[in-house]
Symmetry: C2
Subunit: 484 residues, 2 copies
Amino acid sequence: MASDDLIDEELRRDSPEEGGKPDDRVDDERHDEENRLKPEFVRRVVDALEDGDKSEVYDLVEPLHPADVADLFELVGREDRSALAEAVSDLLSSEVISELNDYVREDMIDALPAYAVAEIAEQLETDDAVQLIEDLDPRDQAAVLAEMEPEDRAAIESALSYPEETAGRLMQREFVAVPEHITVGDLIDFLRDEASDPDALPTDFFEIFVVDPAHRPVGTCQLSWILRTPRHIGLTDVMKRDQTLIPVTADQEEVALMFQKYGLISAAVVDEAGRLVGQMTVDDVVHIISEEAGEDALLLSGAGDGDINEPILLTVRARLSWLVINLGTAMLAASVVSYFQDAIAKFALLAVLMPIVSGMGGNAGTQTLAVTVRALATNQLTSANTWRAIGRELTIASANGMALAILIGGGTALVFDNPLLGAVIGTAMIINNLTAGMAGIAVPVTLERLRIDPAVSSAVFVTTATDVMGFFSFLGLAVLTGLA
Amino acid sequence: MASDDLIDEELRRDSPEEGGKPDDRVDDERHDEENRLKPEFVRRVVDALEDGDKSEVYDLVEPLHPADVADLFELVGREDRSALAEAVSDLLSSEVISELNDYVREDMIDALPAYAVAEIAEQLETDDAVQLIEDLDPRDQAAVLAEMEPEDRAAIESALSYPEETAGRLMQREFVAVPEHITVGDLIDFLRDEASDPDALPTDFFEIFVVDPAHRPVGTCQLSWILRTPRHIGLTDVMKRDQTLIPVTADQEEVALMFQKYGLISAAVVDEAGRLVGQMTVDDVVHIISEEAGEDALLLSGAGDGDINEPILLTVRARLSWLVINLGTAMLAASVVSYFQDAIAKFALLAVLMPIVSGMGGNAGTQTLAVTVRALATNQLTSANTWRAIGRELTIASANGMALAILIGGGTALVFDNPLLGAVIGTAMIINNLTAGMAGIAVPVTLERLRIDPAVSSAVFVTTATDVMGFFSFLGLAVLTGLA
């Protein structure tokens, strides 16, 4: 889409069906006060779908913003998605497709014939088209590609040749690049000329890349710098030479960190030879940032993808494999307890108190672990300050261990009128808090050095350490001191 | 800064000290392969600081990108920050300040006199200046504000009158707004004229807001649309009327969700009367998105802020208060065990196995909890699909409970040659997995309805439920079936 369509498109946007004032979006009959679709509205759509009343469905959905159409697909059940896609196929714009959850997009795409998918893909920018097609099974993918224009197909095939979650796969192949030694006026004239060819310019762009004859970036211009500079000034006098270039092989996590660190709106992607081959824009990176930052909580808990739209069998498999690993570690901890069965048979109060020691160690370890994983993910914890961070965690663990020891040790001594028992549980609490603090930072830092994602694997090791050490220190001290 | 400074600034950026080719940033003597500062480099700076060799420090820091200068402040110890700030005070540009961690910024600002802070604040855009000043204690804040130009002071005082983490506090007060019924040519001429006044235009802007005579937004133009449109076209023919407006009172989380949902680069902020009073840009929102998404893992674990630069006493207090609450729930669970002391004294194997049941329930509950909290935070789980999500979680809990029951029940029956014990632990495992699934979704959903942040408070309730139910179901069934 380029600017000869633009005016038409703007006029369409102005038309009353599009919703009029933006404030109408909030607190209307379709949205609640937090701008989410109301359940009653979703219910009406589902009822109309079940009645087979396609025109009612269409009338309901048509006034929605594309992002809300995408939300609607997520909110109706799986079983209703293909019927909904059929009823509103006209409204499935590129914005709807690019906003859809991956699994929901699959449900919807499966319901459409290859030529319809190809038609949608051709309207999209390459990055969104790739998202649409990459998860199809190879046969469907080939069928859709066969229906596409050769040029679009080539762009998508090129993207698919890069690994998932790399810049080469995620980048837009549409961007604006111009040679050095032209003036601001030349550039504006060029853009106005190109605007008459619908495919010549990307829908939106935020900077102009200046390239040398070998197509290597030499500088970049924010559009705002161009707009406020007189026509006769040379582009080389406006552009910034020092720019952040993204290698085509960069992982999405690296890309997200660069955008955050340097406050980028868009950035050039270069191939191995340093040639400009694409750009990444912040609106796509925002999704990556949110995903990467949010996945830590899910990975730490072993919930896998943690996507509520994931097919249930995949979810069961992901969570169960984690639970089975944890079952192994729980059995390891139980085997520590089994060494002390005689002591427990003599003095059953030990069995009452021992989960407190192991559980509190687990809680303290999880705290340190969550902090460490986040600090590693945001590059705040690097090899330059690892020792300082370890010292910090051990100090915190000592302070907390001592405080908890006084509380639980004092309480136990008083309630059971047994000062020795109080001393034993207090000491065990300190030992286990130090274990928690040490494991909570050493495990993720070590895994990171070994290039294993610390969010995925740390928790098993940390809770094993705190469970084993919790039982061992408490029961062991009880036996040593002759309590049982 | 506006464009008469612009060319000078670009020339400075071109100078060799600024790093030449951007690729030099990576794999040089200062950076490791992931673009983080090398520990050896940080060490050299600290050594020079300790030797009191300020000019060596300056020479080392001067070639760094502002974002790296900010990182350096975070990587040196607290004790070195004020000396570093003194040595490189020339290099403390607005970009450095805005990239600094909050606590590190405080350490640094504390070392500078009020006039120096005021001088830095005046170079900044309002939003960054507010960040610099908002955390100072009231007396220092007043001293800094007194040193500032009246106009800048008024802007900051106005921002401080809004609550923390709202759009009014976070927005930039610099933006470009023009009346309707001008042409693209008029707009470009206006921008070129304004560019000669350094304070007239924001440093960067990504859209032009079109306003009515009462200063209410009526439309918006992306800069790329303006650049490709002929001069004689009216702005109303290029602009988009349907735009996302942010109320000045909106919470930062809401703002972040809007930017993600609608793929915004910038957006207008309006006051209660609907007048344009500021803008928010995506580079600031990116930090909010990353923070909001990343904090769930920290909040779920009770690690508070989870910032490794937080003063250690604050960290101890935050974590300890969570641990003490958990100590209470652990004691509650222990009191369940204490009812079964006689059974345990008779059959100590129960004490060996019981932590497996409670622990596995805790793991399963944490999985469901992490998924639910994330789905709530991203508006994927709303009142429109709550029942479907609950059904989904209970299905998963049944499947996983069954699978784990077979593993642990079968294993126990075989190893201890006691089929009844196997049946008891298997049944308890199923009961506790269902408890975990139910609590893992019902607790956060209920808290969200009560407008309590589910990430902060859910974990206590969920682990209490799984601990209590784990011990009760296993030990209770053991007694009921006459095992002990």
